[in-house]
């Protein structure tokens, strides 16, 4: 069977592919086709990494250049589909501001003056320290010898699959530092903590069987975990008659494609949910038996607790009409099955943890968190190398200020730089990997000041594919490979609980001197005489494929290189008895919060004056938060991020569509265009992330970085757009919600001025 047939067959549908699997194994990866009759095209399977979903892809290579990405039709998750970001992944490889050799700072921090150095010199500096612009910095060896390995702070943004395992579980543990920062607190941590507090909140029936989906602030058609797979599932369900109703402050594309959009005042989803629960309980529309078996409260307790959360009460707070709340509650309570879903729009608020817990309550009432739960085996790679002991030593920088938050899981990473600033602790070597905290956190000016201060952070090392706002402030920049030039073991779960094992493999040779940071970590370990058991990412992936029983039986590493994916058809969903879920949280009650989720107003939101609006942020469908604006095809489509403002509100404030407005927050102001629209709540003003880069290359910011080079990218002269938007994070303070310390992205009260 040749390549052509492989593709032809595999686009027919997943069931067919499965039958053909044996044949596919024979499909040679290097048997080219010619799509223009001239140039040979080679096809290789791999995995996307433009966002957290990590869809399975295939890449086409012509003359050693990656020219096109398609979805891998063998995957039952994304079924051969990818999103715009996935398509534009090629732009990450060939973009004119890509860092292709190690850089050492020669001017002041942030001066943009760099010297190209060798890998030998760069790794020498990291391991043994040295001098940066006349100042001595300590290296990894010294910190370890001095008994302070925790002064090596490692802060990552996106680190997934075996990359995570290798760096965190092998390298950092072997080295001995537990000073590890992530990006959870600016992402979804409030949701995660709510989950932790609530206990066993796995669904009680397969999602695909839902006939009514109630969505709070989830832009599932634009972004999200498992984005493309979820789009396919939900759009398929809608086609088959499932109703999707979306509560959102804004008419997102998701809201627009829902059966109904119900606008809600920012931060008041909780009031609406409590009122929905009130109607469901009062009308006995819940699944009593299931609820009582699974929840740690009785219906009577709940009835009392919810008594004053009437629809009329919620209307006053949220603006959602009483009759709407009643009809949605009735529909939710009487449809078999109903499910409530959510995302950042609902829970990245001051009251986010309680909002998410209230959403669990809704699900418990519908029976979705009943006595039975769906269990799916998560595919586990069998790593052949013994894990080093876990590191314990950790700087006191990760929990936020003492006593401020109830339960953080050590994840208040957006406040690391604040904690450094107030001298709670001090890292000697701060390594930032695939992360841009200066830009991605709130209060960017403060971040830039602290990351730029050599007294507070003596040695700042960035590992990046381009010079970001953060790497511009580093002392040393190591050029990472893009995700299309590296090796990773990945796992996913397809619908029906089928375990999917897949790999990411290089679609092209790493450009320039860029090196996969995972390989660099192996190299650093060797220099420090730490024995990881393997010396490269490729070796790790190869040995893991050959060691994991199901993969080994299918043909091991060679099979995975050719097919990209292995699905274990012996896996699937089953039902087991659930432990109780905590509708009431004793932990929260003891700290003075409502044990059963109750209303929690957001300070300053109740009496807005005529000129005050609540600022919310969102993601558009063609960009990630911060890492894709260097992709020309995406930024061509989306480079301006105007402020959405309701038509009536705009009239009141005298703001015209397209005119410039100044938005003042307690920590600063920004100027941007107004997008006057009927599609937003009158009390809200909404600006997407993604805009206003002042680094990250020519396509993102209009600024040519130090490494700007058009050698690999000849389209640059056709860049036609001048504007590159405004960065909304710069006027949002780096606050934390009182329970989880999660970033309150959607709570800032701002004042509008005409410019």
């Amino acid at each position: 069977m040749d390549r052509r047939e492989f593709i032809k067959i595999s686009t027919i549908g997943s069931s067919v592919i499965f039958v053909q699997k044996e044949n596919l194994a024979k499909a040679a990866v290097d048997e080219p086709v010619q799509t223009d009759g001239k140039i040979d095209r080679i096809t290789l399977p791999s995995a996307c990494w433009q966002c957290v979903s990590r869809c399975a892809i295939i890449g086409y290579v012509e003359n050693n250049r990656l020219v096109k990405i398609d979805g891998n039709p063998n995957s039952r998750r994304n079924e051969g589909k990818v999103c715009a970001k996935g398509q534009a992944g090629i732009n990450q490889v060939y973009h004119p501001d890509r860092v292709l050799y190690p850089l050492k700072r020669i001017g002041k921090r942030g001066s943009g003056k760099w010297e190209k150095i060798s890998w030998e010199e760069a790794l020498g500096l990291i391991v043994d320290g040295g001098e940066i612009e006349g100042t001595k910095v300590k290296g990894l060896r010294t910190l370890r010898e001095e008994g302070t390995p925790e002064k090596f702070l490692f802060h990552y943004g996106r680190m997934v699959g075996s990359d995570y395992t290798i760096i965190r579980n092998y390298f950092l543990n072997a080295y001995g530092t537990a000073s590890i920062g992530d990006h959870n607190s600016i992402c979804v941590n409030a949701g995660g903590i709510a989950r932790m507090l609530s206990g066993d909140v796995t669904p009680g029936f397969p999602f695909d069987e839902a006939k009514f989906i109630l969505n709070f602030g989830n832009s599932l058609f634009e972004a999200g975990f498992d984005h493309v797979p979820f789009v396919r599932r939900v759009s398929g369900m809608i086609e088959n008659g499932t109703r999707l109703v979306t509560f959102d402050v804004r008419l997102s594309n998701t809201a627009a494609k829902s059966n109904e959009w119900i606008p809600v005042k920012p931060g008041t989803d909780l009031a609406v949910i409590l009122a929905l629960c009130n109607v469901i309980v009062r009308n006995k529309l819940y699944n009593k038996e299931e609820f009582q078996m699974s929840a740690n409260v009785t219906i009577e307790e709940l009835e009392n607790h919810l008594a004053h959360y009437t629809p009329q009460w919620a209307e006053e707070i949220s603006g959602v009409p009483t009759h709407k709340i009643i009809s949605i509650a009735k529909e939710f309570g009487s449809t078999k099955f109903s499910v409530a879903i959510s995302q950042r729009g609902a829970f990245m608020h001051f009251n986010g943890v309680q909002t998410q817990r209230a959403i669990y309550l809704l699900n418990a009432l519908s029976g979705n968190l009943g006595s039975q739960k769906v269990v799916m085996e998560f595919p586990q790679w069998d790593y052949p190398f013994p894990f080093p002991d876990g590191a314990k030593d950790r700087l006191d920088l990760f929990e936020g200020e003492k006593g401020k938050y109830v339960i953080t899981a050590g994840n208040v990473s957006h406040q690391i730089c604040h904690m450094i600033d107030i001298e709670k602790d001090k890292p000697e070597l701060y390594m930032v990997y695939c992360h841009n905290p200066v830009y991605s956190n709130g209060d960017c000016n403060q971040n830039a000041r602290i990351y730029g201060d050599t007294k507070k952070i003596p040695f700042l090392v960035a590992i990046d594919v381009a010079l970001s706002e953060t790497s511009e402030l580093a002392d040393l920049v190591l050029p990472d490979t893009t995700y299309l030039e590296r090796w990773t073991c990945e796992t996913g779960r397809a619908p029906k609980g089928i375990a999917e094992y897949y790999i990411r493999q290089p679609l092209t040779e790493p450009l320039g001197e860029s090196r996969n940071f995972v390989d660099v970590a192996c190299d650093l370990a060797a220099r420090l005489d730490l024995d990881l058991g393997f010396s490269s990412s490729e070796e790790f992936v190869r040995e893991t494929c050959n060691n994991t029983a199901v993969i080994k039986d299918a043909g091991g590493f060679d099979f995975m290189r050719k097919n990209g994916i292995y699905q274990d058809d012996n896996t699937g969903t089953s039902f087991v008895q659930r432990r109780k879920i905590n509708i009431r949280s004793e932990e929260l009650r003891k700290k003075g919060f409502s044990g059963i989720p109750g209303w929690m107003p957001i300070p300053g939101h109740d009496k807005l004056d005529d000129n005050e609006l609540i600022l919310t942020t969102f993601k558009t469908n063609v960009q990630t938060h911060s890492r894709t604006q260097n992709c020309k095809w995406l930024t061509e489509l989306f480079h301006e991020n105007p402020a959405w403002i309701n038509t009536k509100t705009a009239e009141r404030l005298g703001v015209e569509n397209g005119s410039l407005i100044k938005i003042n927050s307690p920590i600063g102001s920004l100027i941007t265009k107004a997008r006057v629209t009927q599609g937003i709540h009158p009390d809200a003003i909404s600006i997407s992330n993604h805009g206003g880069h002042w680094a990250w290359g020519f396509y993102a910011s209009g600024q040519r970085s130090f490494v700007h080079d058009t050698n690999f990218e000849s389209d640059i002269r056709n860049k036609w757009w001048k504007a590159n938007g405004a960065h909304v994070n710069s006027i949002i303070p780096n606050t934390g919600d009182p329970i989880a310390g999660s970033m309150c992205w959607n709570d800032t009260v701002v004042r509008i001025e005409k410019v």
Partner: protein, 249 residues
């Protein structure tokens, strides 16, 4: 008693109906033997775009740029957006547009150099060898589907995009290179909701052909007599009336 004899009206209606039915039968018959009448025409390639399913994700337009080396500033396919209604009853609609591979393609007639070719399978493409870049085709297309491959630097080396013919007109060619080796067009291949489906009107088993027949679906600007082969379903196309008209017309 003039012409309003009910019996006669019924007879007339019946006669019309019979003529109509015969017409439909003939048409169906001709349709079914079209490949006998035109033996080299075994295929009529089409695209069906379901506006109820389209979520405006734009992956089609990016995939197209990637597959076809389309320069910044140009698109072979775009997703138009329109908003309608008054808060809180507001809708947003999406309309993906591309070349319609017209049966009676005005672009083809406008080209003096015979550089625009309609293949026997129906796809309309520009032969870059024959095209002299006169751009007569651009205003001739009622849909504005053709663009000119400009480059900020006309002498520029486009080595990174060998398929980009600078100084020639260009447009969607139904991903000729892909479909000729058995792949789907880049846009429909990647569409995550299957809003955009590639098919063949000559293939009796093709589900979208069936849908088009059953639901009597049409293409854009049916009044122009171009016989567009990109069919649309659902949505509210009227909202886009002004947008899809070629600004050159």
């Amino acid at each position: 008693m003039k012409d309003n004899n009910p019996k006669r009206s019924i007879l007339e209606i019946a006669a019309f109906a019979i003529v109509g039915l015969i017409g439909i039968a003939c048409w169906r018959f001709l349709n079914s033997i079209e490949y006998l009448l035109f033996p080299d025409r075994k295929k009529r390639l089409i695209m069906l775009i379901d506006l109820d399913k389209c979520i405006g994700c734009n992956v089609c337009s990016v995939a197209c740029k990637s597959e076809n080396g389309v320069a910044l500033g140009q698109y072979r396919t775009q997703v138009l957006e329109a908003e309608e209604g008054v808060y809180p009853s507001v809708q947003r609609l999406f309309l993906p547009v591309m070349c319609n591979h017209c049966e009676e393609a005005p672009c083809l007639k406008a080209c003096e150099n015979k550089a625009i070719i309609k293949r026997s399978d129906g796809l309309v493409f520009i032969d870059k060898e024959k095209c002299k870049g006169l751009q007569l085709c651009i205003p001739a297309c009622p849909y504005g589907a053709i663009y000119f491959n400009q480059d900020a630097d006309p002498s520029a080396d486009v080595r990174d995009y060998p398929s980009r013919a600078v100084g020639r007109s260009d447009k969607c060619d139904l991903c000729m290179g892909r479909i000729d080796v058995g792949l789907e067009p880049a846009c429909s291949d990647t569409c995550p909701t299957d809003a955009r489906v590639f098919g063949d009107m000559r293939d009796g088993n093709d589900p979208i052909r069936k849908k088009i027949h059953e639901e009597k679906l049409t293409g854009l600007l049916p009044g122009k007599g171009t016989g567009p082969q990109v069919y649309y379903r659902g949505g509210n196309r009227d909202l886009f009336k002004d947008t899809i008209v070629n600004p050159h017309n």
